[in-house]
C-alpha cells in the first residue's frame, strides 16, 4: 500500500465519531478490446494494486439498473466510463447527479438506456439517491481490436488517481450522512 493510500485511510479513520468505514463499489464500464473503451479497465488494474480497503472493484461492461440496485445499503458507488464530448484523455470526476441534464457528456458503453436514466431509475427504486460519483475519461476511438489511443493511454495513471479520489469523496459523504439510509417502502 502506498503512502497516499495509507494517508487516505488514516484521514478517514481519524475522523471523530467514525463508525465502520462504509464500502464503495467501483463499477468499471467499457470493453477491454474496443480501443479507448478499455481505459477504465486498464486504470482499474492500476488501482487494484493499491486499492483502498473499503473499495470493491466490479468490471461490468455496461451499467444496468440492476448493478445499482445491487449496491448494499449503507454503501456507495463510483462509476468509471469512457465518454465522448470531452477532450481525449481529459478526466472528469463529478457527482452521479452531475450527469443528469448534461447532454454534452455521452458515455459510450451503454446503448440501451442513457446513463442518467439508469441512475434516475435506480434512485427511484432504491427510495432515495444513491451516494456516488462518476469518473469519465474523454475517449476518441472505440474500434474493436484497436489499442488505446496515445493520449488516453498516457492518462491512465491520472484516471486511476481520479478513481481513488472519487472513492474518498464517496466514503466521506457516506460518513457524513451516516451511511445510505434504508430505502422507502416500495
Amino acid at each position: 500500500m502506498t503512502m497516499t493510500a495509507e494517508l487516505e485511510r488514516e484521514t478517514i479513520a481519524n475522523r471523530p465519531n467514525h463508525g465502520p468505514t462504509p464500502s464503495v463499489d467501483v463499477l468499471v464500464c467499457g470493453s477491454i478490446d474496443r480501443g479507448d473503451d478499455g481505459a477504465p479497465f486498464a486504470a482499474s488494474e492500476l488501482l487494484e494494486a493499491d486499492r483502498p480497503a473499503n473499495a470493491r472493484i466490479r468490471r461490468i461492461g455496461q451499467v444496468d439498473v440492476d448493478d445499482l440496485l445491487s449496491i448494499p445499503r449503507g454503501a456507495g458507488v463510483v462509476i468509471v466510463d469512457a465518454a465522448t464530448g470531452i477532450e481525449p484523455g481529459a478526466i472528469l470526476e463529478l457527482p452521479l447527479r452531475g450527469l443528469l441534464g448534461d447532454e454534452s457528456v455521452r458515455p459510450r458503453s451503454s446503448h440501451s438506456l442513457a446513463m442518467p436514466e439508469v441512475i434516475g431509475l435506480a434512485d427511484m427504486l432504491r427510495g432515495r439517491p444513491l451516494v456516488g460519483r462518476i469518473v469519465v475519461i474523454g475517449a476518441r476511438r472505440f474500434t474493436l481490436g484497436r489499442p488505446l489511443t496515445r493520449r488516453v493511454s498516457a492518462a491512465l495513471p491520472s484516471l486511476s488517481r481520479a478513481m481513488r479520489v472519487a472513492i474518498g469523496h464517496v466514503t466521506e459523504a457516506l460518513l457524513e450522512q451516516g451511511g445510505d439510509p434504508p430505502r422507502r417502502n416500495r
Partner: protein, 440 residues
C-alpha cells in the same frame, strides 16, 4: 375500442429534423420534408460509425468469430452468435445434440425476453402514455417500470447462465457449448420464469389496451417459418407474398445496397421493394406455431390483423413474443437433460454456408467462407435493422401526410413514435465494411 386516434387528411408542409433520435439503440437521426402534402424526403439517417466486423473476422477461426460477432450489439449478441454458429455448422456438416439445440433455444429466449422487455417498458411505453422518458414514466407508473425491469432481469439471468455472462456471452461453440450444464443449474431458472410468465401475460393486457394512431398499410412482411415451433434458430424464409426459401438462400432473393444518407447498407428484395422484419412479421407468418399460452393471449387481444397492418401495434406483437419466450423457456427447463458432450468434435474443411435466425428485431443472415484450415476467408453479416431501414422510410413517407394538421411538436412526436415501433438497433446496423480500392 382500438386505433382511437384518427388523423386528418393530408395537406400542407412539414419539415422535421430530429438530430438525435432518443430511446433507440445507437445513434441516428430523422429527416422529413413534405411540400403541399407530398413527401419529398423521408430518411432515417444512420450515422453511427461503421464498425467493420465483416473484415475483422477474416482470418479468424469459427469459435473466435462467434465471440467477435457477439460484440456487434449489447442488446442482441445471442442473435449474432446463433446465426454464426449455425452457419459454421451447416458449412462443416455438424449435427448437434438435441439437448444442445434446446439450450440454444433457451439462450435465444433469454435474449428475446431481455430485449423485448427493455423496448416495451423503457423505450416505447413512454410514447403511448405521454412521457418523455422511462424516468418520467416511472414517477407515475412505478409498477409498470418495475415489471419491465424484472422481465429484463429474467432475460439477463438466462443469458448469464447459459451464455456465461449477460452481455456479450462467451459460451457458444461450434458443435455445442464450452461446457455442459447440470440439470440443477437449468432448473434454478424455474421460479423466476413462473413469475415472469405472469408479468408477461399482464404486459399483453397492458399494451393491447393502448390507443394508437389509425395508420394501416399492407407491407411486405418477411420471417422464418418452422413446421413445428415458433421460429428462432431454424426455419424457412417466408413472406406475405408467397416467398418460401431455404434459410441458407437469403442472397438469392435479397440485395444490400448503399444509400448516401446512411452508414448502414439497406436491403431490398430482388424487385427493389422494401420489406419488413420483426415481431409483427413473425406473428403474421408464423403465429400458428406460437406456444399455446401465447396463442391464447394473442386471441384474447383480437388484434392479430391490426398487428399485420398497423406498425404501432408492434408493441402488442412484442408482448405476445414475451409470453411465448417465457413459456418456451419453462418447457425447455422442465424437459432438460444434459447433453452427452459439451460440444461435438469437428475438423476444419474448405466450405461455405449461410444461415438465418430470428433476432428480436427480425431475421438476421450470416454467410461465411472458410478455408481448409478452418479460417474465415469471407463474411457477410446482414442485421435486421439495416434490412428494415427501407421499409421504415416507406412507412414514414406514408404516415407523414397524416400529421400535417398537428402542431409541429406533436407531429414530430408521432413520427418518432413510429420510428420506435420498429425498435431499430442502429449499433447493429452499422457494422459493415465498404472498401474502395482505386488502381493507380
Amino acid at each position: 375500442m382500438h386505433d382511437t386516434d384518427t388523423l386528418a387528411e393530408p395537406s400542407g408542409d412539414l419539415e422535421v429534423d430530429v438530430a438525435g433520435l432518443t430511446r433507440v439503440e445507437g445513434e441516428g437521426s430523422l429527416r422529413l420534408r413534405v411540400r403541399d402534402g407530398v413527401v419529398q424526403e423521408a430518411h432515417l439517417e444512420i450515422f453511427e460509425a461503421p464498425r467493420y466486423f465483416e473484415r475483422l473476422v477474416v482470418g479468424r477461426s469459427p469459435d473466435e468469430v462467434i465471440d467477435i460477432v457477439a460484440r456487434i450489439c449489447g442488446i442482441c449478441p445471442v442473435a449474432y452468435q446463433m446465426t454464426a454458429v449455425h452457419a459454421f455448422e451447416q458449412a462443416i456438416g455438424i449435427s448437434i445434440d438435441p439437448a444442445v439445440r434446446d439450450l440454444r433455444r433457451l439462450l435465444y429466449c433469454g435474449e428475446w425476453i431481455e430485449s423485448h422487455a427493455l423496448h416495451i417498458y423503457l423505450l416505447h411505453l413512454p410514447d403511448f402514455l405521454g412521457y418523455a422518458s422511462a424516468l418520467e414514466l416511472a414517477k407515475d407508473h412505478r409498477s409498470e417500470v418495475v415489471s419491465g425491469l424484472e422481465l429484463k432481469k429474467l432475460g439477463n439471468s438466462i443469458v448469464g447462465l447459459v451464455g456465461g455472462r449477460a452481455i456479450h456471452p462467451v459460451s457458444v461453440r461450434v458443435g455445442g457449448f464450452s461446457r455442459t450444464f447440470r440439470r440443477e443449474e437449468i432448473s434454478s431458472l424455474r421460479e423466476a420464469l413462473d413469475e415472469g410468465l405472469e408479468i408477461a401475460l399482464a404486459t399483453v393486457e397492458l399494451v393491447s389496451g393502448l390507443a394508437t394512431p389509425d395508420f394501416h398499410r399492407e407491407a411486405r412482411l418477411v420471417a422464418l417459418r418452422h413446421p413445428s415451433e415458433y421460429p428462432m434458430n431454424e426455419g424457412r424464409i417466408t413472406s406475405t407474398d408467397g416467398l418460401d426459401l431455404d434459410a441458407t438462400a437469403w442472397p438469392t432473393e435479397f440485395r444490400e445496397r448503399q444509400v448516401s444518407w446512411s452508414h448502414a447498407l439497406q436491403s431490398r428484395g430482388r424487385d427493389e421493394q422494401p420489406y419488413l422484419l420483426g415481431p409483427s412479421s413473425r406473428i403474421t407468418l408464423a403465429g400458428g406455431q406460437l406456444h399455446p399460452i401465447a396463442a391464447k393471449a394473442l386471441e384474447a387481444t383480437g388484434l392479430r390483423d391490426a398487428i399485420r397492418t398497423n406498425p404501432y401495434r408492434s408493441i402488442v406483437a412484442r408482448a405476445i413474443e414475451l409470453v411465448d419466450a417465457v413459456a418456451e423457456a419453462i418447457d425447455i427447463v422442465d424437459r432438460y437433460v444434459p447433453p452427452s458432450v459439451a460440444a461435438e468434435p469437428w475438423r476444419p474443411r474448405r466450405a461455405s454456408a449461410g444461415w438465418a435466425t430470428e433476432a428480436p428485431r427480425g431475421l438476421i443472415f450470416h454467410a461465411y467462407e472458410i478455408d481448409d484450415r478452418g479460417l474465415v476467408r469471407h463474411a457477410q453479416i446482414v442485421p435486421p435493422t439495416s434490412q428494415n431501414q427501407a421499409a421504415i422510410e416507406a412507412d414514414l413517407a406514408a404516415f407523414a401526410p397524416r400529421v400535417l394538421h398537428l402542431p409541429k411538436a406533436e407531429a414530430t412526436h408521432r413520427i418518432e413514435q413510429l420510428i420506435r415501433s420498429y425498435d431499430p438497433c442502429i449499433s447493429c446496423a452499422t457494422h459493415f465494411l465498404d472498401l474502395s480500392v482505386e488502381a493507380v
